[in-house]
Amino acid sequence: MSLILIAALPFLGALLPGLMIRSGRTACAWATASVTLAALIGLLVHAPAVMRGEVIQYQLEWMPMLGLNVNFFLDGLGLLFAGLILGIGLLIIIYARFYLSRNDPMGQFYTYLLLFQGAMVGIVLSDNVLMMLIFWELTSLSSFLLIGYWKHLPEGRQGARMALAVTGMGGLALIGGMLILGNIVGSYDLTVILQNKDLIQASPLYLPALILILLGCFTKSAQFPFHFWLPHAMAAPTPVSAYLHSATMVKAGLFLMARLWPVLAGTPEWFYIVATTGLITMVLGAVIALFKDDLKALLAFSTVSHLGLITMLLGFGTPFAAVVAVFHIINHATFKAALFMSAGIVDHETHTRDIKRLGGLRHLMPVTFTIVMVAGLSMAGIPLFNGFLSKEMMLDAATEAPWDGNHWIVPALATLGALFSVAYSFRLIEHTFLGPKRDDYPAKPHDPGFGMWAPPALLAVLVVLIGIMPALMVGPLVATASGAVIGGELPYYSLKIWHGVNAALFMSIAAVAGGLVLLAMHRPLDAAWIRARRPEAKAIFDALMGTVTGAAKALTDGLHNGAMTRYASVFTLAVILAGSAAWFGGTAPAPVREVMAIGPVPLIGWILLIVATGCMVAFHRNRLLSLVLMGIVGLIVSVAFAYMSAPDLALTQISVEVVTIILLLLALNFLPKHTPVESSNARRFRDGTIAVLGGLAVGGLTLAMLLSDFSQESISAFHLANSKPGGGGTNVVNVILVDFRGFDTFGEIIVLGIAALVIFAMTESVLGSPVGAWLKQRPINPNEAGDRHPLMMVVATRVMMPIALMVGVFIFLRGHNEPGGGFIAGLIVAIAIVMQYMASGFDWAAARQRYPYHMIIALGVFAAALTGIGSWFAGRPFLTSNYGYFQIPPMGEFELATAMAFDVGVFLCVVGAVMLALESLSRFAHRAGDRPSPYPMDIDPSRDLPQEAKDA
């Protein structure tokens, strides 16, 4: 079977459980099992070839640019691990079927399990380190789901988060390390990387890469000081613990160290980091394990200890040690998985995992007892069981590993570790199964059904078989696997029980003896242990996490506290500083233009402007006054435009001005009329400083600009030249607006239209909310003069509105050739209508308003768009203008340009937008009591004149 299929099968199969669970738990389990079985068979098909030393490969391009490709390869090491993952996985699936209770969502469980399995298989088969990283992180994620499987258990959630945090951290470090490795070698393919030992070890980046990669391995394989997450992961259902936390995931780190052993090992850095860490972990784990009363905790720490052992072996960097490591990986997988499952059985039957509440189960659960007996003795390293063999070889290797020239420290500590593991293994057996039967078990224990004890039993059988005839059972596998690790000549070793009388023999005898002594004096030791004050890993981790999260929260909320004033000052300062820095980093332009003389008129304007501006700041708390002053500033600005040869701007500015003021007045009617004094003097000083800096910066920039010249001729020369012949207009500004840059104007009128829509929508939603109701019911302002619609105003409007409209038409028509145009005309017309609104009131005027402003806006957009599209039919681009001169007696010759049609669109949009905005705003004022007045004016004495008197 193709390697990619082997890796993909579990992922594809992950869909099955969800579907199969409907047809029963057993069916679901079988479906899942069959997936794994298929993958396993697919793997074993390759076994003979691999045993022959061939390397199976599969390659598929994914992201060639990154060098991330779907490359798999299968060699001895891969075969060993894949076999373990799939084989034990199969047993776990069967076991879980019986372990999980009815109300556990089994479908989910198997889905997660298969995802995890696929990820693990992916890791061990990857030929591309980047892809391996993907699978690596996937194992973290899927184990997060598996550990948190029992969502209702807080320790489940916390354990999951802790595992994810620690292994995730390692994973990210691993990414860094792998990237460096890939960069040293120039390829992310393992097969290539493995060829470049010298290149890698010579590189200055070797150490950082090594450290980062080892961080990944150590966290994953729970090496000291990252071992603490593993016991907490035990909150997971036992099948998960057995699978992830003893047999497979925690071995991923070991796998990677073994995988990269040929290129990374052999250096002092490697030895001291890896071997030392392993040694410490081994001893520490063993010691703690002895004092754990929770079966799973005990097993967890023993796992830590054994992982340390294997790490240490890999750390030695000698081929022999590597072989031992491989061999022990196999052995540990067998007995530890068996033990976990048995622990699960005990828990399942007695409803407790507390050793202190157990004991004497021998008679009640003989089968389980036998299994635990076998596996436990193997773990203790007693002859005839596979644990013994690899332990002997380990001790043997330890004697060959001088630490900084010291020849006894490693063997001594190794023996100590072995000694403790003897102790806790025996304790596990004795305190749980031996001794008198008790009558206070939480539940009535008895052996489980076949389905549940068969998987561990099978493993126990393996333990014995390997223990008795290792060479026959696993000889070839160990050979090929360690061949793959060493990547060269295998050293001399022999897998047999009796190696004759050697140091290792004495060391293990010492270990067993010592272990028994320790066990004998467990009670006092345990008391001492409990009294001793030890750093509690979880507490530390939680404290750390709490602090970090708290700090993050404090920083985030402190920084983004919603203070617009601060945001704005940061913005302003950033701009000023960056701008100045940029300016002073370059060379300022030469002031080539000669300065214009200052006439009296501009001087007056300047003085007025400065005074008005200053007053505006000084009196900004009086909102009406500051509004008046703003109006004055606007007036001066528009006069300034007129003075500086920009009549169109003057017209636009002034008419926009008045509409803005009306808007603000309408709003101010509801807003407070005064701004309270809130900022401290210091604050005002700070703001003032920022303001002055900004003013200086902008003023300076303006001056530099005004005194310097264009570097190249401005494109506007073209506009001046082509305005008449090309655009058919003599008012170049207008021609630019409706023709050269008509697209800007198109966007601009749409901005206006949107503004009106937004205002309308917002008014609707505010008036529709409780606020609207409150507004309607608000008390009438007692300080309100009578005479809503004064007679004089109404009458004057009757004359002035038509005149204003006429001015609008005039301004519009001449716009193309003289100052004016659709935009200004639109504003003038809008102002005229506003005049009517102010005179006779909203209701009366709106009642006579024939076309809804929405429609006018839309028509404006249409007019503009369709004018533009019209040019398509002439085979020209959007907005291509055309014009001609026409004779209609007696009107004389006049010009018509498509640009004018566009300008009509502008006109409509402006009228519609301005009016819709004002209309929406004036609706805020409506009170519940208001009755729409039937008359244009409140006072009209002619109403009571007889009709004929009026018409006569």
């Binding site: 008046v628 006069v639 002034i654 008419s655 005479d787 004022a925």
Partner: protein, 90 residues
């Protein structure tokens, strides 16, 4: 000759007037006085603009003037209505 002196004189007058108006806008005791000053200011601005038209001998400032007149009227009415009724469109 005479004309140019006259122009300078008149411009000066209106400039002074404008400053008085601004002073009034800021210092007036009541809001109506402010509005009044603003209205006067607008009218004086028109005068200045027309004067400038004479000085420069151009008529392009007409549109600006007429528009300023219109706008001045509207805003004065708006301010006054705001004073009287709070709500300027009702």
């Amino acid at each position: 000759m005479i004309l140019s002196y006259a122009l300078i004189f008149t411009t000066g007058c209106f400039a002074l007037a404008l400053l008085m108006n601004l002073w009034r806008v800021v210092s007036a005791p009541g809001v109506p006085d402010r509005i009044l000053a603003l209205d006067t200011m607008v009218i004086n601005f028109i005068a200045i603009l027309v004067l400038y038209g004479i000085i420069e001998g151009t008529a392009v400032y007409f549109e600006a003037s007429i528009l300023i007149a219109m706008v001045g009227f509207i805003s004065t009415v708006a301010y006054a209505r705001f004073m009287l009724r709070g709500n300027i469109i009702e």
